[in-house]
Symmetry: C2
DNA sequence: GTACATTTAGACCAAATGTACTAAATTTTT
DNA sequence: AAAAATTTAGTACATTTGGTCTAAATGTAC
């Protein structure tokens, strides 16, 4: 029965999302699945191992989605669609971002790995920005390091929007998600050219004031 | 001896900062201070009570500082100075921001209180922006709700820059702090007018490219 | 059907934690 | 100095947790 392993991953994810990593023990997970505690340990020796597997799961799904995303002709729309999809996926594994610092403290290997992934992500945004500039949708830098700063701020937003939502937004999932995607997009707005802003208003659904 | 109570608060703060709230028990705090754990419990019945006291402490200090801050003639410089001071204070109680979501989950009262403080903070930023616009340092809104979004993004940055720094920046405290203050200020940059940008370059220490 | 490997459950242990209770020590008040 | 209040320490207990060990159950290959 390979099914047990999958049930554990699924159950653990749900418990983590609902109660937070720190408040969930291997015993609680086992109890919620109505299997013995030692059975769970047979499949995953520690909580960290479980978290690592879930992280791999998340990365795998994210990778697949990025490949599947058909190329939008318009870059602004493409960015929007990418984020809509990506944010939804992340939400499914939201315990990971809510307890990010806790997890990183407990698991040195995961921390290192996370830093590696981040450098990739950072480069992706760098390229995205260069493309936007190349297509005349975004203005160039106004001072040295301006876009390096922008990317760092994007990083903070990406890492913690879910944590923030947990504290401030108790509404329904769909609405919250949509709001934060818009919030993400709004980071770019003031750097866009007239042409870029036109696209922004068209696709993001906020009307310009003139 | 009232001193014990203060020593406990100080010691708890340091342990929380170093190891994270979830990994620090009342017993550990007592041991680090070389007092009996029942002695500690005599002063603070639970960990939550301890955290609430530390939160009050933080609010009190922040309030005093805000009053003390002499009025800068220049608003941009004033904002910079306020943030330099505020960020440093927050850093001293950084466990609070690093384990924000964990604490909010454990302590419903503190969560509500935090939400109240946030509405005040939000209003402050709203006024700050209005003043900047009034002085011709910042442009008006380009679409309805643009600055409401800006304020929410500022909120996320303010709440989680320390958490982010803990993951990505292992450097020395002073340098990290300075970097994140600059990062904070850079949020405003693209909304500034020519006049505002001039002040920005003057005070923040980055040179414009023309 | 038998032998083997995999999976599951139950019992047990040591460490840590919150909590309660009692008594001693110290400070403050009278 | 005596009495009262506050502060501190010691002990003990129930719970939870991660972890180990053994044995039963289940599936698989021959």
């Amino acid at each position: 029965m390979k099914k047990t392993k999958e049930r554990i991953l699924q159950g653990a994810k749900e418990l983590f999302n609902a109660q937070g990593v720190a408040n969930v023990s291997l015993r609680k997970i086992a109890a919620s699945l109505k299997i013995s505690h030692s059975n769970l340990i047979y499949h995953f020796k520690t909580k960290n191992e479980l978290i690592e597997h879930l992280h791999q799961e998340l990365l795998h799904i994210a990778k697949l989605e990025n490949q599947k995303l058909r190329q939008e002709k318009n870059r602004i729309l493409g960015l929007l669609r990418t984020m809509e999809k990506g944010f939804a996926t992340l939400w499914d594994y939201r315990f990971f971002m809510i307890d990010l610092n806790f997890i990183m403290k407990e698991n040195e290997a995961l921390h290192s790995f996370f830093l590696e992934v981040e450098t990739l992500r950072s480069k992706m945004y760098q390229e995205e920005i260069e493309c936007l500039i190349g297509e005349g949708l975004m203005r160039g830098e106004s001072y040295v390091g301006e876009y390096a700063q922008l990317i760092k701020r994007i990083r903070i937003f990406s890492d913690y929007w879910i944590a923030s939502a947990q504290i401030y937004d108790q509404g329904e999932y769909q609405r919250v998600l949509k709001e934060y995607v818009q919030l993400f997009m709004s980071i770019f707005y003031p750097y866009l050219t007239v042409k870029g802003k036109k696209d922004f208003h068209l696709y993001i659904g906020v009307k310009g004031l003139g």
